[in-house]
């Protein structure tokens, strides 16, 4: 801890980042409850949660870096990992739901495209 003003600055910054992260996570989970069908729900957690986690992790990265006086990059590994895996798990869950023919809310545009995509062959195990 070197300078009083920098400490106060990082305090505000860390508090802000942590709160932003938590509110994004809250909104994402609220979307999970509120949105009408599976495919719209798929958007909520995969997006809001990655930024929520990202902001929280950057907050704690700054906090520990200032506290210990050295750069503390562990947290960055977790965020990078989550940013890499979030689209993959979203893709896999979306694909599973598509081939299980989950219903979509009325008013969804181009439902025919989804039906066409769901007819894709080669998913069943070869006997």
């Amino acid at each position: 801890m070197s300078d009083l003003t920098t400490v106060a600055m990082t305090d505000y910054l860390v508090a802000l980042l942590v709160l932003i992260g938590a509110s994004f996570m809250l909104i994402g989970s609220w979307g999970l409850v509120k949105l009408p069908d599976f495919f719209t729900r798929l958007h909520a957690p995969t997006k809001a949660s990655t930024l929520g986690i990202g902001a929280t992790l950057i907050g704690s990265l700054i906090w520990f870096s200032v506290q210990q006086g050295s750069v503390h990059i562990h947290e960055l590994v977790i965020s990078i990992f989550l940013f890499l895996t979030a689209p993959v798990s979203a893709y896999m869950m979306g694909k599973a739901a598509l081939h299980r023919h989950r219903p979509m809310i009325t008013g969804t545009k181009n439902v025919k495209l989804a039906e066409k995509a769901a007819r894709r062959e080669g998913l069943k195990k070869p006997d």
């Binding site: 994004f24 495919f39 997006k47 990655t50 689209p87 893709y91 008013g107 969804t108």
Partner: protein, 161 residues
């Protein structure tokens, strides 16, 4: 040379991640270098034939752009979640894919999933198009043009295909 360092960039990355996870010391550096050398030798036969990055600098610019778009995406999606459901106009689009190699197509699909209100759900069997679910579909053609200009074009340059 090729037999000792089959994937030099991967070796460097592995060593770097090892040091990030375990903190800096000469012992850890040695162990990280050892793992960075050995893992590519074991893994190389399985990943042979992947498209490689031709322009690393352009890749960095692309990643920064993507990071910015992710922030914008999050604010946008958060706003849509907080609005009542009746304003929501979800829809599907089939994005015509001109990237044919596996790895660039995967990067494109991941980018689309991470950015404003779109999730890529399925590839067509012949890789001719990518089916995308859009949380709020206003203008199909402009969205396709946006994806092509902002993501697919830079990726083509980065991977040189």
């Amino acid at each position: 040379m090729k037999r000792i360092f089959p994937m030099p960039i991967h070796s460097l990355m592995l060593t770097l991640v090892w040091l990030l996870l375990n903190g800096w010391s000469y012992g850890q550096l040695f162990l990280g270098l050892f793992l960075g050398l050995m893992i590519p030798i074991v893994a190389y036969p399985y990943v042979r034939g992947h498209t490689s990055v031709k322009k690393p600098l352009a890749m960095l610019v692309y990643l920064l752009l993507l990071l910015w778009d992710i922030v914008v995406a999050n604010v946008d999606v958060a706003r849509r979640i907080l609005m009542p459901n009746k304003h929501l106009k979800p829809g599907w689009i089939a994005y015509p894919l001109s990237l044919q190699e596996d790895f660039p197509a995967t990067v494109l699909a991941s980018s689309i999933s991470l950015t404003p209100g779109t999730v890529s759900v399925e590839f067509a069997e012949d890789m001719s198009c990518l089916y995308i679910h859009v949380l709020h579909l206003d203008n199909e053609t402009s969205l396709k043009a946006f994806i092509a200009k902002r993501y697919e074009q830079p990726l083509k340059e980065i991977f040189g295909c």
